[in-house]
Every structure is written in structure tokens, then in C-alpha cells.
Symmetry: C2
Subunit: 305 residues, 2 copies
């Protein structure tokens, strides 16, 4: 027990972004053991998504590297030196050449001797706009029968803050895979005025079947905003078997678009007007009794941030 | 914006209750316009549940009264005068005669000129152990096309605190209907050491189809505990069309038992060992970074309460 003094903010007002109706493209990539092949393939599917009208494009968790802790160091790139980072350089170039915004899933990031599971965001000018480091690492406790032990923190360091990024397509919050299991992170994005939360993720076969869709729909409906997820395809390299089923969910919890477990480009129409009318129809935010409970985002700096 | 000083508690340890494996009986009652008939019917179905081995029994929201704001005052009872409250008196008597614990759904409560939507809890000794007043009233904003306006707060006053009750069958948190839409309430029950959250609720046809099961599974899986819900049957009296589908969910989000929309007695086996191994297999609680966000239960008095 401790007494803490905290800033108590109401939710930031929802700003009207430059573009409120658009197509999002979700690239459910097949990941191989060859980094250069993964980069080539990602560029091809980003291009395919753009050709189908997507102007915001989401990639999977660990798309340049098999989901295997022993490979993360080898495939890692330095986000402060993009010219020497082939995965990031490709994203920068393809974003500017196609004029699209890319929520770049995640790749292993190396920084000062540490490894992170990090999502880069590139704007249509090719600039790196933001980086989210996975906060909640997937550390299993005592495995259930049939489960394989997995402890991400053996090799990966945890991110230390939520990430929202302002784009032409609204304010976007980012969570990576296990981050979705924590309602608090999504609540912090709602409170910070996000329109959309993007979750690159590689759920496995058991949590995928039971939780992947459930958690996406929940985060959307409890926070009355859009959620998009992007997984690698199931036939990706490595012993870790991936669920797939990348999905886009609207603010009423409705599935707007989804796919199976094979490599795919998924296109979905997003219209932020749905956020507004969902909140007008049921003003959940104003129904929370702040004298009974409060959610506190300790790193939020001001009422409008 | 305001600076508030709050008590920061970790979750209360999970106590081992007197009984850890038992059957819960869910009485999905048909509600009529006759209060005496509703009481008679509720007693019959409680008895039927007990005969099938249930020792903890859950009733629906507003089981003694049609779900219609203009009838709540007429059907209301005074919880401080059980001998003059026929619905409460029946629950007290049937609990002691059968030796069961009853989470009594809800009925309209009158107190000092106010009306509340309140859940009584009776122990096997026939005593009123607790009362939960619905905190989050169902007030629609601007109805969506096809929706009928509903504003519960026109007639009902809001409860002012979460309710946990210690029973032979563990620590039970209670939420009524719209209370389930707020992750914070379930988080407060998790933090207070609940094994089970009971949600009597009368979701309508649109929110029922989209959200009823989703919210129950979510509250269970995000807090790694059991959730049980109980609705009136769809053919209950009144213009408000009820979804039904009372359900019991385990701590992995798995549906243990559910039913359709007709009157039914649903029996489910609960084993609290599942809470323990779920939390050991994935220790979500210890993975929450308390320097990034915190959920604050402003009314919690001590680390073990």
C-alpha cells in the first residue's frame, strides 16, 4: 500500500483528423528465415494494399524475423540509423513512393545493448513518426498441459510508455500482441483521444482460438473506437504456430473485416463518424463515477495529450 | 484536471473459501405483471435448482417486476423491513429452508423516497448478507435507428459503491446489467479478491446479440475469475424485449454453461482451482507496470478488503 498523488484528467476531446473515411490495408505476411525475402515480400504486399486503395497500412508483429527468441538479435535493427536498417529503410521508401502511412508491425530493435520488440510508424513523407516498444512482454508462468514454455523477457526488454501518433488518419494508439491483454493500455489510448488502436500480434493456436477476436472486440466496444490487428500467416517459419486471423473491428464491437490463417491482404473501410454516433448513442465516458474508481495514466502530460 | 491523492493497493490475495467446488443454479425466470405470481414462480425455480444440486443460486435483474420504469415504484420493497417485503421474505425463507445461498438478481428498492435497482444476497441462514445497488444506470443518449429511448435514471437512483460479499462459495462481486459495460467495476472486484462476479442483467435484443456474451467472457478473462449472468426470459411481460441467454464463464473465458431465451434452470459446475492455475499459467496481475498506469478503487479501505 502507498499513497500516490496523480493527475486526474478527463478524456481528451476527439479531434477531427484530416481524413475521416479511408481504407486500411492489413498485410498478413508469411515470414521466412530469410530477412531479405521478408523485406521483399512485405514491400510487395504493401504495394498490393495500396493498389486496392489502402492509404493506411498495418504490418504484423515480427514480420522481418521468425517469432523465435534465439533469432531476434540476428534480425534486429537500429532505429536511430535507418540508412543501415534494411527493413526500416524499405518502409520509409515505400511509404513515400506510394504516399501511404505505415504502422510497421514490429521488428526486433537493438539499442544500447538491449533488444526491444518495436513498432515503427512511417508517414507518407517517408519519415519515422513514432516508435512503440512492446510494454507487456509475453512471459508464461507454469505452462498448462499441452502448452510450450515461452518467456519473451529472457531476450527482450520492455517498453516504458504508451504510444499515440497523430497521422492524417487520426490519432492512433499502438499495442503489440500481449499488450492487448491489458485493458488499461486501451483505456489510456481512449483517454488520450485515439480514434484507432493498432495491434500487430502473433497469438498462438490456443490463445488465438480463445482470445484473439474476443480481446479486439472488447477493446473496441469498451472504448468506443476502432481496433485493427495484424498477424503473420500460420505457415510462417519457426516452431511457434501462429493463429492468423487479422481483423478490423468497429466501435460497436462489430467485425468489419477478417481473414483466415493464410497470407493475405485485407482491406477494410473505416469511417470515424461511427465513433461519434456510438458515443452519442451511449455516452459510457460520462457514465463513469469518478468518485468510485479512476483509471490513472501516470505518464499523460496534459488534458489534451 | 485535478491532483488527487489515492491509496494504491495491490490485489488482495485470493482466500480459500469453505467450499471450492460446487454447482451454481441460474434461474432464467419468466416475469409477469403479477408480483405474487413472480414470487411463486421464483420460489419454484429456486427449488428446482436446489433439487438439481445447486447450492449457490442466481436470479435475474428485476425478476419480481416487468422491466418498465413506470412499474418500478409499484413493485418496490423496503430492504430494511423484510417482514413487509414479500419478495425478500420469500428469498429469506427459501434460502434457509433449502440451505442455499441466493444472489437475488434485482428488484426495485424503495428507501427514503428514492428508488434503486438492488440485488439482495441471502445466506443459508436466511439472513440478508449484502445488497448491491446498480451503479451504472442504463441511460441511452441519442438512439440509433431502430432503438427505443430508455433512461433508467428518470426513475432510479444510482448506487454509490461496489459490493463484494463473503459466502461459503467464495468472495462474490455483484454488478447489475449495465454495470458489466464498465471494466473498472470488474477490475475493482478482482483487486478485492473476488472468485466470482454475478451479473443479473436484462440486456435488450440489440445489445444482447452484440455484447452480452462478449462482455461476460471479457470480464472473466481479463480478471482471471468466474462470471455468471442471469437474465429474465424473452417472453417476460412488457414492451422491452429481453435477450435471455444466461451464461456461466470460466477464468479462461470459456463458456461453461449457457441457455436460450426461454424460461430455464441452468446448472453449472464451478471449481475455483481453475482460477489458481489460470493465474499461475499467465500471471497478468504481476505483469502490469504500475509506473505507467494504475487502476484506483477509491472506496477500497485496506489491502485485504
Amino acid at each position: 500500500m502507498a499513497t500516490v498523488a496523480v493527475q486526474s484528467f478527463v478524456s481528451a476531446p476527439l479531434q477531427i483528423p484530416k481524413i475521416t473515411q479511408f481504407k486500411i490495408g492489413i498485410c498478413q505476411l508469411k515470414v521466412t528465415t530469410e530477412k531479405s525475402a521478408n523485406i521483399f515480400n512485405a514491400r510487395s504486399l504493401i504495394q498490393a494494399a495500396a493498389e486496392q486503395g489502402a492509404s493506411l497500412i498495418l504490418l504484423p508483429e515480427m514480420w522481418n524475423c521468425p517469432y523465435s527468441t534465439d533469432l531476434f538479435a540476428k534480425f534486429a535493427e537500429d532505429f536511430s540509423d535507418i540508412d543501415s536498417a534494411p527493413s526500416l529503410l524499405m518502409l520509409s521508401k515505400v511509404a513515400s513512393s506510394l504516399g501511404v502511412t505505415i504502422i510497421g508491425g514490429s521488428i526486433p530493435e537493438k539499442d544500447a545493448g538491449e533488444l526491444y520488440n518495436s513498432c515503427p510508424v512511417f508517414g507518407p513523407d517517408g519519415e519515422l513518426k513514432a516508435k512503440h516498444r512492446k510494454i507487456h512482454l509475453f512471459d508464461m508462468g507454469k505452462p498448462l498441459p499441452g502448452e510450450v514454455q515461452f518467456k519473451e523477457s529472457d531476450i527482450i526488454s520492455a517498453g516504458e510508455k504508451p504510444t499515440v501518433v497523430d497521422t492524417d488518419f487520426g490519432r492512433i494508439g499502438i499495442g503489440i500482441c500481449h499488450d492487448i491483454r491489458f485493458p488499461e493500455l486501451a483505456m489510456s489510448y481512449r483517454a488520450r483521444g485515439a480514434h484507432l488502436i493498432c495491434y500487430p500480434g502473433a497469438f498462438n493456436m490456443s490463445t488465438g482460438a480463445t482470445l484473439w477476436e474476443l480481446e479486439q472486440r472488447t477493446r473496441a466496444v469498451d472504448n468506443q473506437l476502432y481496433v485493427a490487428s495484424c498477424s503473420p500467416s500460420r505457415d510462417s517459419a519457426g516452431s511457434y504456430m501462429i493463429w492468423g486471423h487479422s481483423t478490423v473491428v468497429g466501435p460497436m464491437g462489430e467485425i468489419i473485416a477478417t481473414t483466415g490463417h493464410e497470407e493475405a491482404v485485407l482491406i477494410a473501410e473505416i469511417d470515424y463518424a461511427a465513433i461519434q454516433w456510438t458515443r452519442e448513442s451511449l455516452p459510457l465516458e460520462s457514465q463513469k463515477p469518478n468518485d468510485i474508481y479512476q483509471f490513472v495514466d501516470l505518464l499523460r502530460k496534459s488534458p489534451n495529450s
